[in-house]
Symmetry: D3
Subunit: 229 residues, 6 copies
Amino acid sequence: MRKISFERNFSKHAEGSCLVKFGDTHVLCTASLEEKTPPWLRNSGKGWVTAEYGMLPRATGDRMKREAATGKQGGRTQEIQRLIGRSLRAVVDLSALGEKQITIDCDVIQADGGTRTAAITGGWLALYDCLKWMDTRSMIKLDKVLKDHVAAISCGIFASQPVIDLDYLEDSAAETDANFVMTGSGGIVEIQGTAEGAPFSQEEFLNLLSLAQDGTRELVALQKQAIGG
Amino acid sequence: MRKISFERNFSKHAEGSCLVKFGDTHVLCTASLEEKTPPWLRNSGKGWVTAEYGMLPRATGDRMKREAATGKQGGRTQEIQRLIGRSLRAVVDLSALGEKQITIDCDVIQADGGTRTAAITGGWLALYDCLKWMDTRSMIKLDKVLKDHVAAISCGIFASQPVIDLDYLEDSAAETDANFVMTGSGGIVEIQGTAEGAPFSQEEFLNLLSLAQDGTRELVALQKQAIGG
Amino acid sequence: MRKISFERNFSKHAEGSCLVKFGDTHVLCTASLEEKTPPWLRNSGKGWVTAEYGMLPRATGDRMKREAATGKQGGRTQEIQRLIGRSLRAVVDLSALGEKQITIDCDVIQADGGTRTAAITGGWLALYDCLKWMDTRSMIKLDKVLKDHVAAISCGIFASQPVIDLDYLEDSAAETDANFVMTGSGGIVEIQGTAEGAPFSQEEFLNLLSLAQDGTRELVALQKQAIGG
Amino acid sequence: MRKISFERNFSKHAEGSCLVKFGDTHVLCTASLEEKTPPWLRNSGKGWVTAEYGMLPRATGDRMKREAATGKQGGRTQEIQRLIGRSLRAVVDLSALGEKQITIDCDVIQADGGTRTAAITGGWLALYDCLKWMDTRSMIKLDKVLKDHVAAISCGIFASQPVIDLDYLEDSAAETDANFVMTGSGGIVEIQGTAEGAPFSQEEFLNLLSLAQDGTRELVALQKQAIGG
Amino acid sequence: MRKISFERNFSKHAEGSCLVKFGDTHVLCTASLEEKTPPWLRNSGKGWVTAEYGMLPRATGDRMKREAATGKQGGRTQEIQRLIGRSLRAVVDLSALGEKQITIDCDVIQADGGTRTAAITGGWLALYDCLKWMDTRSMIKLDKVLKDHVAAISCGIFASQPVIDLDYLEDSAAETDANFVMTGSGGIVEIQGTAEGAPFSQEEFLNLLSLAQDGTRELVALQKQAIGG
Amino acid sequence: MRKISFERNFSKHAEGSCLVKFGDTHVLCTASLEEKTPPWLRNSGKGWVTAEYGMLPRATGDRMKREAATGKQGGRTQEIQRLIGRSLRAVVDLSALGEKQITIDCDVIQADGGTRTAAITGGWLALYDCLKWMDTRSMIKLDKVLKDHVAAISCGIFASQPVIDLDYLEDSAAETDANFVMTGSGGIVEIQGTAEGAPFSQEEFLNLLSLAQDGTRELVALQKQAIGG
């Protein structure tokens, strides 16, 4: 794995925030609390955690068009922000949260592969800090709402070898690319595996899964260290 | 698995077409050939296979808003059509296709769970027929371009039991939901597993994978029967 | 006229539905009931019947761009769905319907000329079945709400001869093209006549009108047969 | 008919322009020449005449939302601009025009019923002046390109009486409403008749058609007077 | 300054309206009253004055694309309508207006430089007439709501000389271009100065400011004359 | 003035980049070089410098909607990015740049007033570094292309006192708010002054201008220090 770091309280305004770095991939995650739920949860007593994802135009090697200027979020953006939201909700008790919404904005300041896994892993910290902020104000009980850690890592087969936490070059050249989202207690939240070139075998896949289990265990340890737990 | 059927040549106009039914899920897949590639492949000698996905507004229990009227394709739509495209490209030799584009339109006439797996499985037949149409006209060699079958199936854990090919009710209630895309020779093209409620274990996941391998083997057999192979 | 057929209850989910075929033109019409009216009718005691129209991308000889992907409904689409809505409302007592909305979705599965006239004629059957569904549940009285049949047919001058129910080739080559919407009792609901080439005379137009009166009379007879009336 | 007037050369910039008034309905028509055709006519030797239609937000009794602000042209706008374009093209020899495009912009400054008929009738004058401007510069021969006059009028049944050139109040209350587009030589270019309430009979329709023939004859006479012909 | 004229009550429908001409620049300003405020002022007791700006496609030498057709208002349009709104609100007591909204639509019929300054100056008259209309109906007290006149003029440096009220040609060639919005009592509401070529000095800017003070004084005198005050 | 800092080479990918801080306002400016000009400059031999501006959703006290999700850039965004572009172009010789385009992306990571002035001042450094990168590769001569420094500062009247470099609270409460863009040699590039409450006098405005001249002189000194000049 590349060098991982978390800088909590990066933002002056947000209820929770974290600048997460996976090597040269830098993602700013902020958590924003709103006293309302989406329409379909009104009067349900339940809250919601959602995520939005964006990339600064020159986060990448070539400048990409600004999505605000093109007038819509691309398919990749929507896919990633849906994944981040699902992953974080997997460890939140929405009833214990009550009729509130927390939006995790994950904005890629610099990209070098693995932006979605960094966003989930850092997004968990922004969420943690937001819930702690609420706990301090007696709005919720942190340990009732947040059930576990969640972290994500990419694994792939590159030059016939299983590798973890692929950077952009490895990712571009990988034969198989998979993202794994796991909890602190080792449960699997989400698996997304894609054969870029030739289809892969069950055995190859199990190698990646095993690698990912080690990796997310390490990420969760780093999260714990970051919150001083 | 539910009753599966394929009706080839459903469309008068398309180069290839197939109405695929997985139980009450009915998807019309058409393949349209165009003599051009996307901009990034121009002068590369390579072709492209892409997919678009849509649902008729009342394909579902409650009427959904028409995406053409709301002015954009939702995140789910984009996610699915990207998946279909990737899955089909995994068994196509784009260089052997040459500078042409084949668009597989998958339109859900009626939905009852598993629309994306039906679309991939039926889309392969539309693609096959389109390539055969081209072979007949000496534009390509079918067996050079199409390297294998591809089929997809959903598996999930429902009432603590692994189940295959979930209908809408099972899917809504499933604890875990996974989609598997596999080739005729048993290779894995794509795995997407999501914990809807509690995270799942590696063991549970392997049960689903095994179920999926049986299921896709059966789907491939049905595809072969449909093309008289 | 080409071979006309109606397949009622085509859809599992919709309150009313009909697959209508005018030769190779196939349109799926579904009726969806919602317990709300558009804003301008709120608290008026009146309901609303509206229509939406779409074409599958490969319903036509050349693949058309998907309107959901281009981000807007074209002028032709809007013109046709406004026409279908007006035509059906002409035989509905909106006060007797009460504050409900029925949306008739007309989706062209395969096109070969005359999609709008097929949509109106088949849409009436979907509407009928929806109203019957409501009657069965004592929500309305079918015979108070639905005042008459409505059906539509195209007529044109092709190779100097008046022709009825033009297919795509005839339509493309017609000198004059007119669509007529008429009720079961012979009243005219809508007339749209367009000179494609040279302007036409009053006499020519009256020939088309007379042809249309015969044609819609026949269509209404077929509707009656379909509902067993 | 209401008082009709034409003010040619209303615009300083346009190749042809006309402010047309049908009573309190005031429409500014401008003709803009561009040295290019739409893509589908490239290298065909043919030109194109198209129209765009708009309403100032407070042209009407209640302020309407500005279409530029809502982000799209409504169905009614698109329907009308397609009608204007078709009507004008009916009297133009597009081959004699050559590979040029003339856009007729019809902007409603004040509305009181009949904006589309005023737009067609005044649009013809803007087109005439644009073609004359081109003739003066030896770009075309006016009398080869412009084959005839074209004018339009609305007729309706109001309080059981046939009336012509309906203002907004008459139009809102009319039982039947029809727009007729006719040439100087009496040919019919377009007929659009709609039953607003009860369906209408063939006889009623023929009364309106006859009224329209008188009306358009008068409008053509006024056009001739305006161009000093 | 070019010849300035105001034609009040230009529109039959609007509560206030004015066709303002600054030479060949003609802008139609209408004021529309609505009995509601924007969301952020609800229950505040305050009203709102806002402006929208548009150009007819052929108001200019070359036809511009219609913003309704392109699907969005350009940056220049938004900039100008925000300026007009701010300028008019500077002389309105929004509390005295009460929970109502007045929209000033400024539509450029013909453009020859200075459309925004003409819009502000003529927009004030439309606003005045709207407020007078309300006063007549005892909805407000005109002299409580409207605190002062407001008028705007452009100044620039053209061929090294300060000039006022630039037409299109002067504006295109100006080295420096500034717009000034001032009240009847000589207060400055808005200053926007831009170096088109070389940066300008403080002294040059003061010359323009002085010119603008004379110009707006004259415009206010013309406004007073127009309202017979 | 608040504490000002510049962090050059903040981005791994961009040809030039700078994280600029004006107190708690943090803006990331990147310069991206493209080997093409906008269409209207093609074959002119001239290049172009343009700017885009964005705010992360939680850069502010309350979370704002993401412009990419709402589908358009707001009026304020467009106004600011046009201002940044004009300001930077004022010190660039576009002919000496040649047919290339440099896009300066200014993304507000954290906002506390004065984001546009920080963006211009920091954007100049990103532009400088991009041009230096080009000079190193012998693509241009830096000193031929970049004619001068440019920097911007806000001034306002707050509690009757002129203040410089307003933070968000001061800005919200200011009676008058002006932004000044000036060059290293003291020339004025852009002035934008707005009375938020009562109109302001010429004398008040001159006080602000004088303050701004001191402020931009200091900013230019800091820019020089940052580039070691």
